[in-house]
C-alpha cells in the first residue's frame, strides 16, 4: 500500500440544527482516485468542502501528510490541496493569465516570469493560449472550467478535489472537461471527485465511496461497487441511475 496523504477521523458538520455530516472516517492514499457518490443532499459536497475548510467542520480531526490541519496552517495546506468548483469560480476581475499566475507568484512558489511561462504551456496544451488576455466573462463554461483545472495545477498540488466539476456545464462541453480530468489523473494526480457522471466515475475511480445521510455507507472498487453493491440503499440508487 502506498503512503497515506489524508486522514479524516469522525468528521461532523452541522448547519444549525441540520446535521449534514454525522461522523465520517476516511483515508486517502497517494495516487488514489476516489469518486464520491450519493444522492443530492447526502453531504458529499460538504464532505469535500470540509477537507480544505471551505466549510468549517463542527468537529473531527483531519491530517494531511501526517500533519493535523488547523486554523493556523490551513493557508499552507490549501496550497497543496487544490480544488475545482462546480461553478468554476474564475476571478472575474482578472484575465485568464492573471487567474493562473496570481497565487503561485503571490505565494512565491515561483517568480512571475516562471509562472507565466508555465501558464502559457498549460494554456497551449488545452488549446486556449489565445484566451490568455481574455476575461472570464467572455469564455464558455467548458473553457472556464478547463482553465480552473489548470489554475489548480499551477500550484503543483499533492491532491486535487473536484466538486461536481461538470454539473454546471452544457452537455457539449462536459466531454472536454472530463478529458482534461482524465489526463490529470493519468499523470498520477491523487484526486477526489464528487460527480453524477456514473460512466466516468466507473472508468476513472480506483475506489468509490457512497455517502448517504451524512455517513459513508459503502465503499469499494468500481467493479465491486457497481456490480455487487452490498447495501439496499446503494442497490436502489444504482437501479435508478443506471436503468
Amino acid at each position: 500500500m502506498s503512503e497515506e496523504v489524508l486522514s479524516i477521523k469522525n468528521l461532523k458538520k452541522e448547519f444549525g440544527q441540520n446535521k449534514v455530516l454525522k461522523g465520517i472516517d476516511f483515508s486517502l492514499r497517494d495516487k488514489e482516485r476516489v469518486v464520491v457518490l450519493g444522492p443530492s443532499g447526502s453531504g458529499k459536497s460538504t464532505f469535500l468542502r470540509c477537507i480544505n475548510r471551505m466549510e468549517e467542520p463542527t468537529s473531527g480531526e483531519m491530517s494531511f501528510e501526517g500533519t493535523l490541519i488547523t486554523d493556523k496552517n490551513i493557508q499552507q495546506m490549501r496550497q497543496k490541496i487544490g480544488m475545482v468548483f462546480q461553478h468554476f469560480n474564475l476571478i472575474n476581475n482578472l484575465t485568464v493569465m492573471q487567474n493562473l499566475t496570481l497565487a503561485p507568484a503571490k505565494l512565491k512558489l515561483m517568480n512571475l516570469e516562471a509562472a507565466e511561462k508555465k501558464a502559457r504551456n498549460l494554456l497551449r496544451h488545452i488549446g486556449l493560449l489565445n484566451k490568455a488576455d481574455a476575461y472570464p466573462a467572455s469564455l464558455s463554461g467548458g473553457q472556464q472550467q478547463r482553465i480552473a483545472i489548470i489554475r489548480a495545477m499551477m500550484m503543483n498540488p499533492e491532491i486535487l478535489l473536484f466538486d461536481e466539476p461538470t454539473s454546471a456545464l452544457d452537455p457539449e462541453s462536459i466531454g472536454d472537461v472530463l478529458d482534461l480530468i482524465r489526463e490529470v489523473v493519468d499523470a498520477g494526480m491523487t484526486v477526489m471527485i464528487v460527480t453524477h457522471e456514473m460512466g466516468f466515475a466507473r472508468e476513472i475511480a480506483s475506489r468509490v465511496i457512497f455517502v448517504d445521510q451524512g455517513h459513508i455507507i459503502e465503499e469499494g472498487t468500481p467493479t465491486e461497487f457497481f456490480e455487487h453493491p452490498q447495501t439496499p440503499r446503494v442497490q436502489e440508487f444504482l437501479k435508478k441511475v443506471l436503468y
Binding site: 493557508q75 490549501r78 496550497q79 472575474n92 482578472l94 496570481l102 503571490k106 481574455a134 466573462a137 467572455s138
Partner: protein, 232 residues
Amino acid sequence: MNEFWDKVVELFTTPQYIDSLLHGFLLTLQISFFAILLGLIIGTIVALIDTSKRTKWTILPKAICKIYTTVIRGTPMALQLFIMFFVIFAIRGFPQIIIAILAFGFNSGAYVAEVIRSGIQSVDKGQTEAGMALGLSRFTIFRRIVAPQAIKNILPALGNEIVTVIKETAIVSMVGMYDLNMAAKDIGSGQNMASYIVPMFVAALFYLATVYLITFIIRQIEKHLRRSERRA
C-alpha cells in the same frame, strides 16, 4: 417678463450680490467636500468591521457600528444638525463650519457604510472561495479579488450619496450659516432685491451644475472600471 430680466441684470451687476452668492457657494462646497471625505473614512471603517469575521474581538465593535448606523439612519438629518450645534458643540466661539462638517460627515458615514457593506456582500461567494482554495490570505483576497469587484457595485450608489450630501447641506441655513441656500434667501429679501425668484433660480442652477459635474465624473470612472466585463 421684462421685470424678470431686469432682476437678472440687477443680480449679476451688483458686486455685493455676486459676492454673497460666491461666498455661500464656497461654504456649501467646503462643508460638502470635507463631510463627504469624513463620511467615506467613517463608512469604510464601519463597513470593514461589519463584514469582518465574527470573533470575540469583533463583537463589541460590530455592536457599536450597528447602533451607529441604526441611530443615524433612524433620525432626521436636521435634528442631528441641531444636536451637534446646540447640545454637543454648544461652545461659544467653536467654528461653525467644523460643527457642520462633523454633523454631515457622521450622517453620511452611516449611509456610506451601508453602500460599501452591500457592495462587498454582493460579490459572489465563489470569488472569495477561489482565493481561499488557492491558499491566499484574507488580505490578498480582499485587495485583489473582492475590493475591485465591490467597487463596481459601490460606485453608482456612492455617487448618489455624494449628491445627497451636497444638496442636504442646504439645511445649515437653519442654524444661521451663510451657505448657497442662505445667500439666495438673503439676496432676495426685502433689504436687498425684494424678489426671491431670480436669486433662488440662480442658486438652483449652482446646485444643479455641481451635481451634474459630480454625476458625470462618477460615470466616467464607472465606465473605466467596467472594462473587465467587455467580451474579448
